[in-house]
Structures are given as C-alpha cells and as structure tokens.
Symmetry: C2
Subunit: 287 residues, 2 copies
C-alpha cells in the first residue's frame, strides 16, 4: 500500500468520541472507502450507524478488522494492547494498525512487539469534555494536530498510510518519538487536567454556594476540564506517570516559589515569576 492508493476498507474499533468522529469525517470526505465499526457496547455500534459514523458493524473486533487495510484502535489506553492481541491473528498480511491513546511510550513498545513494523502510535490533539458517540462530530479534527510516533521499527509504508488517512480526516500529522510525545503531552494535557481538578476542589471548599455564582472567566476556563471523566483520566495519568511526575514536580516548585514571594511580600520576586511565565506563554503559537 502506498500513500497514493487510498484504502478500500478501514476498521474503527471503539466508537466513542474519537472513533465516532473519525468515522464521520472519513465517510463524509472519502465516501469510496467502507468503514467497518466495532464497539464492545452494541448500543454504541447501533448509534454509530445511525449517526453515519460507520457503514456496517461486526459482532467481534477480529471480524470487523479482518478485511481492513487500516485499523484504528480508538479505545481507552488500557484496552489498546489487549485489543491488538485479539485481532492480530485475523488481520490481512498488509494491514497497518494505529491507535489514538494519550500515552505512547508503553503502547508503541508493546504494540511493536506484537505487530512489528505494521503498527504506529497516534494521538489526535482534539477532544471534548463530553465523551461517547453522542458527542462525536465530523469536524472534531479539522485543522487539529494529530501526533504520530514512529520508532526505528516502524515500516515507512505504515507511516505513509496512516498519515494519509489522518489528512483525509482533516487533521495535520506531526511526528515525534514516543518518549518525546509523552513528555509533551504530560505538560500540555495531563498536567492541565490535574490543575483543573485541583482548582475545582479548592474553589469549592473556599467558596459558598452564593459565591460560586460569581465565578468569572479565569476560574471557568481554568477548571473546565474537571468536567472530564475521573476514571478515564486516572488511567491516563497513571499510564504516563513518569512524564507527568516530572511536569507536576516542576509546577509544584514554581508554585512554592510563588508562595514564598507572597508570604515574604517580595513584589519583585513575584513579578519576576509572573513576567517570565507571561513571556513563556507568548511562545505558544495562537490556536
């Protein structure tokens, strides 16, 4: 398979927000391919078909995957490897497999052991605090970065086929190794989630019901992702434990410096901390 020959059959295993949105985008922009979907929940399968995210469904994951040239594993991080093990014996010899999990080092390592150069890890940088097929949208990935994490073992054809699929979905492929991905994402996603949960808990304890009606934009934006599923995020954070600990300890150190400057009423030290952080923030490109 090459970048210029589009796949005839794509399997999407896991029909939640990510898998459902990928199917909807793919079918809308690329009606020639058949999209076969599977989810462990029959309701999600039915709903995905209703919403136009898949052409047809299958009772078993292996059955859904066996004709596919590309298989997208859009399941929670702890389910990626068990699902890959389940389908591998049934795959076409030329099938390529990718996933959408938010941690990549462990997954890339284990998946490469199981499926060699035919696997490449992936992570779309788009999401929503709501989950499930009901929240899926064909525009979720429009213009969004979608990180791919090839390793020295990854076949070039695998990278090319998955890159091309991602572009068809509307996303922009970006590449880095799995370790770099995990460090980036710890700081850009896992840490912001942890801070949002911590902020929500603290503000709740400090502010009465009457005062909670006064929450302005800085709180609402800062705590927004505390709306996300605690079970889902517990799993991800533990899976990216090392990188998240490194980011968390760095922000803890920063907050302690801020605390000391407040406690000692050291305006210059506090200003320096805020000014540096303000300059750092300007180094992020606008959305």
């Amino acid at each position: 398979m090459s970048e210029t020959t589009p796949p005839q059959v794509v399997a999407i295993l896991g029909l939640g927000l990510i898998g459902g949105s990928a199917g909807m985008a793919l079918r809308r922009r690329f009606p020639a391919a058949a999209v076969i979907g599977w989810d462990r929940s029959p309701e999600a399968c039915a709903r995905a078909q209703e919403r136009g995210a898949i052409d047809r469904t299958a009772a078993q994951a292996a059955q859904a995957a066996r004709e596919a040239e590309i298989v997208l594993l859009a399941v929670p991080v702890q389910s990626v490897i068990p699902l890959l093990e389940e389908i591998v014996p049934h795959l076409r010899p030329d099938a390529v497999v990718t996933d959408t999990g938010s941690v990549k080092r462990r997954i890339a390592q284990q998946a490469t052991q199981i499926y060699g150069g035919g696997f490449i890890g992936g992570h779309p940088m788009a999401g929503a605090v709501e989950s499930g097929i009901g929240a899926a949208s064909p525009n979720l990935f429009e213009g969004a970065p979608w990180i791919l994490t090839p390793t020295p073992q990854t076949d070039e054809e695998t990278t090319a086929a998955v890159s091309s699929l991602i572009e068809r979905i509307g996303a922009v492929p970006r590449y880095c190794d799995p370790e770099t991905h995990d460090r980036w994402i710890a700081a850009l996603s896992h840490l912001p989630h942890l801070l949002a949960y911590g902020l929500a808990q603290t503000a709740f304890l400090q502010v009465s019901e009457e005062g909670r009606a006064c929450a302005a934009g800085s709180f609402r934006d800062g705590a927004r992702v505390a709306k996300s599923s605690p079970a889902f995020w517990t799993e991800i954070m533990l899976d990216n434990r090392d990188a998240l600990l490194s980011s968390l300890e760095m922000v803890q150190g920063w907050l302690e410096k801020a605390r000391i400057s407040l406690e000692s009423r050291d305006a210059e030290a506090l200003y320096r901390l805020l000014e540096q952080a303000h300059a750092a923030h300007r180094r992020f490109p606008p959305r």
Copy 2:
C-alpha cells in the same frame, strides 16, 4: 438620592477596560446622564471620548468628580485610596463613591475611614486579558455578577444608588462583606491566574517549539490568563495576600496528594481525588 431618582452626573475616574466599558454601557443605556471621565493619561481621555465612553473630560480628577452624584474609581488597586483622598475635599456633600478593584477588605476599610458611609466597594466579575480603553466594550458587563461589599458603616442610600447604577450598566449586583469577597476571589480569580502562569512556565520548559504547536484545549484554556499583565497581577495578588495564601496552600496540598498517589501508583487514591474534584466542579452553576 434614592434608587428611583437616576443620577444626572456620573464621574468615571480611570478610563481603561473597566472604566471605559462602564462609560460605554451607561451612555448607551442611559443617555440622560452626563458621564464625565478622567484618566492620568491624556491619550486615554481622548480615546475614551472618541469611543463614546464619556461625554466630556477634565484636566484633574477632582474637577471631573466635583459635580458628580456617583463617582466610579476604575483604577488599579494601589491607586484607589490615593485617588479617593485627592477628590474627597471637592465632592458634593451627597456624592457616593465606589471602586472596581479586585481586593476589597483593605480598600473598604481605608475608604470608609476617609469617606464614611458614602463609600461602597465594588468588583465587576467580568474582564478580558487585554487591557485599556481599546479593549472596552459596552457589553462587557452584560449579565455578569458585580459584587458590592457594604459594611455596617455604609449608608443604605449609597448601596441603593450604586446598585441601581450597576443594573443600568447591565450587570447583576451581588452582596457580601469585604472579607468574604476576598476569600471568594482568591479562589475564583487570583488562584486561577497563578495556576495559569505556573502552567505556562512549566509547559514552556518541558516542550520544544515543535511540540508547542500541538497544544490542545486543556492547555490553552488552563494557561489563557497568563496573557494578562504581570505588573497588574503582582499588585493584586500581594494586596490579597492572606486569602490567596490560604487558597494556594490548599491547592498545593491537593497537588501533593495527587503526586503521592502517582508516585506510589495508587489508582484508587488518585481516582478518589479526581472524582471528588469532578463532583465539586459540578456544584458551580453553568455560566
């Protein structure tokens, strides 16, 4: 002056985002009143007039304030008391004065010593990361809470007149004592700002330029207010030091519990922390 007799003359001292937006809203919704504006910057005065935020300007703050039945001090927290001292000898005997600063305990205490029952502290819960008259909008306060902090010394007429003015601007008055305000706002505004700055600095140090292009919604929202002015926020945070330290220490304790659960791979403890915070977040009313 009573709630039912609208003022003929309102003075706005400080023509930045807040003062400018208040003037624009007032003139648009209440064309009968004359709005006299003053700012230490002659450019801001000229721009405020151009943008329709004021009817006329004056060379000195005292001159702008002397005819006014209501005076709005929309200057940074460290300038409120000096400005009040400057204008008090020139005010009409029945004039009421309010401010828009983000800390209230110190200001209410000092302002009451200077101007007695004619002063009431205020704090509009609306803003923008951009500052200055250029960012002002007549809709900034539309439906937003505007906290007023009467004390036992505040005259009822003062509270009534300022409440009525705020409603004319489109905001919703809410009431609490100055200490409660400072505790609420430490958790709902000052702490989210501190966390945003800390997140921006941490992510900048952990993520290369290439990775910064991959920042998704949780980082962008979490760090958004790190775009705000470091000088402005240094002043506010130090002015609300005690309440902010209390919120900061609480979130530091929470983050340390999260760190320990990660380090010891204690999924149940981490889940419990996130689940509690998630439930806390649901107790904040939707915007």
